[in-house]
């Protein structure tokens, strides 16, 4: 075997990891719970607990071994399960809460950070299981620590279920009210989707879709800091050059995901699903998507030109990443969560970034209105209207959009909320004072758009 190591390559890799916050954001193991159904609730609890702890029992230790072997941090080890509204469709609301608590216990026992899949897919209407699950969400999320929930209320193929949208407005508000003493943390663990992907490794929206295998390993990479540094180094680069620089960097970041995913898959003897190409920021300084946009030449993220900058970034990340991995999936794009990104928080604080601008930005990047604190007196109807806007963007543009809003009970625009850890903290953002009540209460479904007729 020849030894061909370029000094520059070794130094660059080390610099990316140690100075620019390159890490593997998450290894997420998807586990099917379709075979855990049982009419007897206590038996079902046992089956769910046993299956998750059996499959994910080694996830954390294997993750730590791989991290030590390659010298790259793996921040989160997580589990996603079959949407509970499908796996436990026969249960009532009270029993759904019991399942959430079992998921929580299994997560604690396995040592993982989060477990996703307390979920329902209701884009075209509710089953009795869907209704029971949705009604259980506020209690389930406020009485558990690790459980994450998501509800898909629209798709490009089905349109938007506006009854579900209104219901989710109410559920988000209730989540925040039940955990008002913790700045509404339950709402931070709940995502409302349009076009939800079935193989997303990122929380809070991860679930194990019904088209997925028995078990699977999906990997989410990170690295806004690495991209920000490269962009900063070349202030003179024109847009073609800029795009190429980002593509090359995204390639390298994604290769790490591919390497770690394959290694984890082999060690755990579980098939490797996908690498999610997302640029996921953290509250750490220098790990910000807003900083990338500002390094491109914007005085502040949120000013005029931000949408164009984000569009270029998002596209270049996908182009670079797609080449680096055999299977790409999940959300794959730049995330713009507010509380989890120090640069976004600053941009809000100086008045550069507003809710309306964030909505525009979600047209050209991954996900949507994410980790945004709203005034505590926001109504369920206004929350529903915000969800509807975001879902419409997803439906028409054939992309995933999501909403994770946290009503800050007792707080007004400009005050701060703190969630801690990776969730960060953020200023409460202003909303429009005009009502949308009549609109969101019409009921029924917004029909699927003409672009859905692709056959």
């Amino acid at each position: 075997m020849t030894i061909t190591f370029a000094r520059e390559e070794i130094q660059q890799t080390l610099k990316m990891i140690h100075e620019e916050n390159l890490d593997i954001r998450t290894i997420t193991m998807g586990i099917s719970l379709l075979d855990c159904c049982s009419e007897e609730i206590s038996r079902m609890e046992m089956k769910v607990y046993d299956k998750i702890t059996k499959y994910a029992g080694k996830l954390v230790s294997v993750g730590e071994q791989i991290s030590a072997r390659y010298g790259i941090p793996i921040i989160n080890k997580r589990v996603s399960v079959t949407p509970i509204a499908i796996a436990a469709a026969h249960l009532n609301t009270e029993e759904m809460v019991r399942i959430a608590k079992v998921l929580d216990r299994a997560a604690r026992e396995s040592g993982i950070n989060f477990i996703g899949g307390f979920s329902a897919l209701v884009q075209k209407g509710f089953t009795t299981g869907d209704l029971a699950l949705i009604d259980a969400i506020p209690q389930a999320l406020s009485e558990t620590e690790f459980v994450c929930s998501s509800v898909n209320i629209g798709t490009t193929k089905a349109g938007i279920n506006m009854d579900a949208v209104l219901k989710m407005g109410e559920v988000i508000l209730k989540c925040a009210q039940l955990t008002a003493d913790k700045d509404g943390i339950a709402a931070a663990k709940l995502v409302v989707f349009c076009n939800a992907p079935e193989d997303n490794p990122f929380m809070a929206g991860a679930f194990h879709g019904v088209g997925e295998p028995e078990s699977v390993i999906n990997v989410g990479v990170s690295g806004p800091g690495v991209v920000a540094k490269v962009v900063k180094q070349f202030p003179e680069a024109d847009f073609s050059e800029l795009s190429n620089l980002i593509k090359q960097t995204a390639f390298k970041i994604t290769r790490m995901g591919e390497l770690i995913g394959r290694a984890a898959s082999k060690s755990l003897n579980v098939p490797f699903g996908i690498v999610d190409l997302s640029l996921a920021p953290t509250p750490a300084i220098g790990d910000s998507v807003a900083e990338i946009l500002e390094n491109m030449g914007l005085e502040r993220c949120g000013t005029h030109g931000t949408t164009a900058a984000l569009a270029l970034l998002n596209d270049a990340v996908k182009k670079g990443g797609a080449m680096a991995s055999s299977h790409v999936g999940g959300l794959s794009g730049a995330f713009i969560p507010v509380s989890e990104d120090a640069g976004m928080v600053e941009a809000v604080e100086v008045g550069a970034l507003t809710l309306d601008k964030l909505e525009a930005m979600t047209c050209v990047c991954s996900v949507g209105l994410d980790m945004i604190a709203l005034p505590g007196d926001v109504t369920a109807e206004t929350l529903a209207a915000i969800i509807a806007d975001e879902a419409a963007i997803g439906m028409i543009n054939k992309k995933t959009t999501a909403v994770r809003l946290i009503p800050a009970i007792g707080k007004k625009a400009g005050e701060r909320v703190e969630f801690g850890g990776l969730l960060g903290g953020a200023p409460v953002m202003a909303i429009h004072p005009f009502a949308s009540n009549m609109f969101v209460k019409r009921g029924g479904r917004i029909p699927a758009p003409i672009i859905s007729l692709t056959n």
Partner: protein, 97 residues
């Protein structure tokens, strides 16, 4: 596409820190003790700042990569040096197809 060379047991050792007498003697002494074979070594000193990159083979070694990494990291810390031991794939995989 290259697959992770799980069968390979080669690692890259990097040492960073202020230059001092005996850095290479210490690392190579430790490696000999654990039967780790040195395949390649290069070092530079820029303004008193020492950088060494070593390619080693752990095939004949008496300890695992992770244990070697832990040992050198701890002992390096005491000497004011940052020492990393990483499987070679992290470097080959990142930069090459």
């Amino acid at each position: 596409m290259t697959s992770p060379s799980e069968e390979s047991n080669r690692a890259i050792i990097t040492v960073l820190g202020r230059d001092q007498i005996g850095i290479i003697a210490w690392v190579s002494g430790r490696l000999a003790e654990y039967h780790v074979n040195i395949l390649d070594i290069s070092q530079t000193i820029v303004k008193d700042f020492f950088t060494m990159i070593m390619v080693v083979d752990l095939e004949p070694a008496t300890l695992e990569l992770i244990e070697l990494a832990r040992t050198l990291d701890q002992e390096g810390n005491d000497k004011g040096l940052q020492v990393k031991v990483q499987h070679e794939d992290i470097f080959t995989f990142m930069h090459r197809i």
